[in-house]
Subunit: 351 residues, 3 copies
């Protein structure tokens, strides 16, 4: 978009304080904004940051008192206004017309709802059931007896194996693999024999799954991701995991077999957890954190192994001072040696 502050204000039926002729081309947060950007202030605590912002204009919540050099568009709900602006000025989203592309291979007994779009070279195996308004992208593979709930959107090249259950309004990005065998072997005379993985995967409603993420099927029973949970790219969810509702798994997170994650949990990027333990509700796991034991108490955990944030910070504040602290110990040893008039136990005087 390339649009004037005045045009934006007119579209939003909003008041302007400042120059209506300023042109904006992009939208960015207060701290990242550069010249030519429209930014937005929803919360009082960001008002102070506006002074240093390089943005060319700002959407401000109308009940906030803001004095700044750049023009303000004052609206009741800046987030809502932003959504309306995006809908009006961003390029239209790509849509896929309903219908089965002639190159898609859909098994005779597959059941397709209304307005289903099956894109080129998708393969839908026997026994599959697909709800209304579902999009199956190009090069997708939907395995035998899998069901996909209404309104779900599979981007190109999603692979779902047999007997998986996908809920409603689930969004699955390219490269995702759901229902591959769990990683289970038995050692017999020093060699690994495969343990059949006869369970399945259940993805509940309103889940989103990022590109190239993998969710393995259970040994028996099911691996489950519950309603509303959002999963980023390159995440690994092993066999028999249970992930709760409204939980966030960021990029490259790894859950080992039979791990359980509660509701309203956030696991930051590259964090992981060992199998057969649980992270309870309302817990935040820091980036690269390694969870090795059950975590029950809500709060923020960091480090590997995972440790309550404040405990870890306190400990690390000492760790970073260790060279200095060690010198103090050595100095003390010398003083005590002098006091006692005999050799102290320390063998070295410097680290």
């Amino acid at each position: 978009m390339e649009i004037s502050v005045g045009q934006l204000a007119d579209f939003l039926q909003a008041e302007v304080i400042g120059d209506r002729s300023v042109i904006v081309r992009n939208v960015r947060g207060v701290e990242e904004a550069e010249a030519g950007d429209l930014t937005f202030v929803v919360d009082e605590k960001y008002v102070a940051l506006l002074e240093r912002s390089k943005a060319s204009a700002v959407l401000v919540r109308a009940d906030l008192e803001v004095t700044c050099k750049i023009p303000q568009i004052r609206v009741k709900d800046p987030r809502e206004a932003l959504r309306r602006l995006v809908a009006a000025f961003a390029p239209p989203p790509i849509t896929y017309a309903p219908g089965v592309h002639p190159t898609a291979i859909v098994a005779e007994d597959a059941v397709l709802g209304k307005n289903v779009s099956v894109q080129p070279y998708a393969v839908v195996e026997a026994g599959v059931t697909i709800g209304d308004d579902v999009v199956i992208g190009a090069h997708c593979y939907i395995g035998h007896y899998t069901t996909i709930g209404e309104g779900s959107f599979l981007y190109p090249r999603v692979t779902i194996r047999e007997r998986v259950v996908i809920g409603k309004r689930v969004i699955i990005h390219p490269g995702v693999v759901i229902g591959a065998d769990g990683f289970g072997y038995e050692q017999v005379n020093g060699k690994y024999e495969k343990i059949p993985q006869v369970g399945t995967v259940v993805i509940e409603d309103d889940v989103e799954i990022g590109a190239n993420t993998t969710i393995d099927r259970a040994r028996f029973d099911k691996t489950i991701v519950r309603r509303g949970t959002k999963i980023d790219n390159l995440v690994m969810i092993a066999h028999n995991c249970e992930v709760g509702e409204d939980t966030i798994l960021c990029g490259q997170v790894g859950l080992s077999g039979s791990a359980k994650v509660g509701n309203h949990v956030i696991m930051a990027g590259q964090s992981g957890m060992v199998g057969h333990i649980k992270i309870h509700d309302n817990i935040i796991i820091g980036a690269q954190c390694g969870v090795t034991k059950e975590l029950v108490k809500p709060g923020f955990y960091i480090g590997s192994p995972a440790t309550p944030h404040m405990t870890y910070k306190k400990r690390e504040s000492i760790v970073v001072r260790l060279p200095e602290i060690y010198k103090r110990l050595v100095a003390l040893e010398k003083e005590v040696e002098e006091l006692t008039g005999r050799k102290s136990g320390g063998k070295e005087s410097e680290g």
Copy 2:
């Protein structure tokens, strides 16, 4: 399955202690089991856990003395019994009929063994040789001159580039990429120039490779994964790596270029190793561990950099007490100051 303890026992020709009419629907380990589950006890050490188990019934090794409230099915080998139950009561595995699907593109000079199945939209390039009983899933790409040994199973959407050698009975899950270029550049006047990667990849017999894992081709010569090794999802094996026999690489493990991993090694999830070093036989690497030097002595290593387990634990037991230990140092400094009657070297009194 939904089946009574009596029916299971009859099928296994096994003795029951307890109520034969109890219904089970699923199988889970002693600790994870919930009501309605059949669990199993193979080892004496799990007998004690049975008391707290929520399972509705248990498969027990017949020579173990077990007293529990739930019905017991007593069998000589619970693992074997479990396998027979799964085979009998789990949904049948999906199979793919032999033959080349009309939409598959197979080069004229490709050589296919007996009973090979090539699924829809697979592409098999010139010079490829495929052994008997191989399944090539939908959307697979098999590059020029690659060979695949008999009995191997490629799930949908596996990509193998040219001149790769895949052994017998290899299982490859969706999204795997084998034979992409190694990551090698030469810096010329501050810019990176690509070093041709003209080697290949060899995957020996009975290897299994998890979803979205990548195994790069060698600069010269070959990247090799030896017989019986099992690789989980999203693992990265760089150019010129050598992975031994009967080794386990768990989810999101990363091996840098020219890294060597011995036989009977286990690398737990998210662990990694730098290039040009070796992990010798019978070594276990903990989750998120970073191996930076050659490891020779069998044992369990954790931490980043990798450290023998006991050494690391001992050290960490001090690290977690550092705030308290620091206070003791400060107290000692004060006492010594009083003793000497002059100011100590410590500049601060609290962390």
Copy 3:
């Protein structure tokens, strides 16, 4: 290849010191080389390593004085010689003939340059522009209005969504996903609502992107990877990231949303950084390093959180001695206790 030292020398018109009849079959670095390998010494500092090398022959820079038992082929520029040898003796690279395969689906209004190769089952959507000499591999998906610059090479099974801009001579390996939605949600009454991701991705000239790597589209504006940067496998680049020129991102690196990486940066394997911060030019980030704050000063950083290399090493040299240091503190407490003639503050005597 299987070739004699004499034949190699003749091909390179180079002098030999030693036995011309020795056969070599492979090329490897000085330290990795085994019997039958040709190795190479470009730099004086590697001369010493030659003595212990197991190589059967060596390419040596002609102005280096080298005495070794194995035959030397003496050339002005060993790297250049190596390149010529590879070109002459390695199997020829796989090429794809220009033209659109009859099974490829190319939108009517897509614009294709000269000598473009579109391989089987590729899908090219409406509004796409593809430059001269581009290869679009089998099973690739090129989304609406995306542009691909001349000379770029997409291996099989690359997925690029709509409105992405790919530069010239970009190499993209199998399984890469470019332009999937950024991971952005707003919490509304405890549930996550998707924030539309209406920006795009720009990949500049001469970038290489490794297998199964994902690069998300921006919320607004663009995610950008600048000229000459090389990205390894399974890397995660989140929405709105900016990666500079001639930068190296190794395997499994993760960049959170709006992270900025400068020019000539190297991020080693499994390292990551939080969002909304910057790693400035000429910085090296160690393996598994976690960058949590802006890094400005050129140098080598390791640890999680990222710390200047020397600071970290100094600190870790104390950490590994903590059990011994703790014992010295306890010993000192006893001595002081004796000196003062009363109980010290320490509650325990051993760790």
